[in-house]
Amino acid sequence: MARLRVLFENGDPERVIEFDPTKAPFQHDGRPGSILDVLLANGIHLEHACGGNCACTTCHVIVKQGFDKLSEAEENELDLLDKAPGLTPTSRLGCQSVVEDDAEITVLIPRFTINLK
C-alpha cells in the first residue's frame, strides 16, 4: 500500500489517499499509478489539458515528501517543467510521476497553472 497526502495551495482541506499501486491504473489518464491517476480516481481534480500525455504543464505538482519514491523524470517531462510556473527543485508533472509501492508521498497542488493566450 502507498499513502498520498494532498495539500492545496488554494486553502482547500488536505486529503489523504491510501491505495495499492499494484492495482493501477485506476482510471484512463496519465501513467498508470501516477499522481494524476490516483488523484482523478479519488475525485480530486488536477488539470491535465493534454490528457495526461506529457505534452503540457497543467498537472504540475510540488512534491513535499517522498520525491525519491517516485519514478524518475524523463527528458520530455524535464523540458516541460522548464516552462511551468513556480518551478521548484521538487516539481513534477502529476501525469508522469508514478508512486512506488509502500511510498509515503506529500504533494502540493499549486494555486496557479500557466497558459499562453
Partner: protein, 264 residues
C-alpha cells in the same frame, strides 16, 4: 468555487499583422489561472466543415458562437472533451489554423482502435464539439534570431503550419526551412499551400521527406554537414521520431532550448 470566464482568459489583440507585434505581446499573454478550485469552463463549437485531407485524415473546421472571446498563439492545442464510455475523455488536438482565421481548424488521423478519433470521424457537419484551451507552450516565444528549422512528421504539421506563417511574416534575414515527412505523397497535408508559400518567400525552403528516413535526412544536413550549431529547431510529430531527433540534435551540440518539440 465557480470561475468566471474572465478569470480564465486574458484579453489579447485579435488580429496580428506581423510576428513582432504578436511576439511583443507574448509576455503580456502569459497568464496564470487557478487550477485546483474548478475545471475551466469549456467552449462549445459547431463543426462547420469537414475536409478529407488524405486517406483517413480529416480537417475539422469549428465555429464558435458569435462574440466568443477565444484567442491563441500559433503552436497551441485544444483539449477536446469527448463523451465516451459514459464519461468524458480528453483528447488534445493542435490548432492548424491561424489566429486570424474565422474558423478553428484541427486535423487528425483515424486511428485504428482509437476511441477519440473514431468518435470524431463519426461526427458530421453541424455537430457540436466541446473543448477547453488554448493550451500548450510549444510556441515561438521570441522572434527567431537564427536559422529556423521546422520538422514535422505526419499530422505534426498542424501546429507547425501557423508557426511557420508567423515567422515568415517577420522581417528577418534568417532562413526558414521545413522538413515534412509523410508515409506517402497524398499524406503530405497542405502541400500545395506550403509550396506556394515557398514560391512567395525566397528565404523559405520546403523539403518533403517521403523516401528517406527523416532522422537520417536531418542528421546528414544539420549534424554531419557542418559545425554551425546556432540553428533553432521546432519539431512535432507522433511517436518516437520526436525524442529521437531531439536527442540526436542535442548530442550533436545544439543548445537544449534551441531544440523545441511537441510529441504526441
Amino acid at each position: 468555487m465557480q470561475l468566471d470566464s474572465s478569470q480564465l482568459r486574458v484579453e489579447s489583440p485579435r488580429h496580428h499583422d506581423t510576428l513582432p507585434v504578436c511576439l511583443s505581446t507574448l509576455n503580456s499573454q502569459l497568464s496564470t489561472f487557478p487550477v485546483s478550485a474548478s475545471k475551466p469552463i469549456p467552449y462549445e463549437a459547431t463543426i462547420e466543415r469537414i475536409v478529407e485531407l488524405a486517406p483517413e485524415t480529416r480537417a475539422f473546421y469549428l465555429r464558435l458562437p458569435p462574440a466568443t472571446n477565444f484567442t491563441f498563439v500559433p503552436g497551441q492545442f485544444l483539449s477536446c472533451l469527448l463523451p465516451l464510455g459514459g464519461g468524458e475523455v480528453i483528447r488534445p488536438y493542435s490548432l492548424a489554423s491561424d489566429p486570424e482565421d474565422p474558423l478553428l481548424e484541427i486535423c487528425l488521423n483515424h486511428v485504428a482502435g482509437g476511441p477519440g478519433s473514431h468518435y470524431l470521424f463519426s461526427l458530421g457537419v453541424g455537430a457540436s464539439l466541446r473543448f477547453t484551451g488554448p493550451w500548450g507552450t510549444f510556441v515561438l516565444s521570441q522572434p527567431p534570431a537564427a536559422e529556423c528549422i521546422f520538422i514535422a512528421d505526419g499530422t505534426g504539421i498542424a501546429p507547425i503550419r501557423p508557426m511557420l506563417k508567423r515567422v515568415l511574416a517577420t522581417e528577418s534575414p534568417h532562413a526558414v526551412r521545413l522538413y515534412y515527412a509523410a508515409i506517402s505523397s497524398p499524406h503530405l497535408l497542405y502541400r500545395d499551400e506550403l509550396e506556394a508559400i515557398a514560391r512567395r518567400h525566397p528565404r523559405f525552403a520546403f523539403t518533403p521527406v517521403l523516401d528517406a528516413p527523416l532522422a537520417a535526412v536531418i542528421e546528414d544536413r544539420y549534424m554531419a554537414a557542418d559545425t554551425d550549431r546556432s540553428r533553432h529547431f521546432y519539431i512535432c510529430g507522433v511517436g518516437d521520431i520526436v525524442p529521437q531527433l531531439r536527442d540526436a540534435l542535442r548530442r550533436a551540440g545544439y543548445e537544449r532550448r534551441a531544440v523545441q518539440y511537441e510529441k504526441w
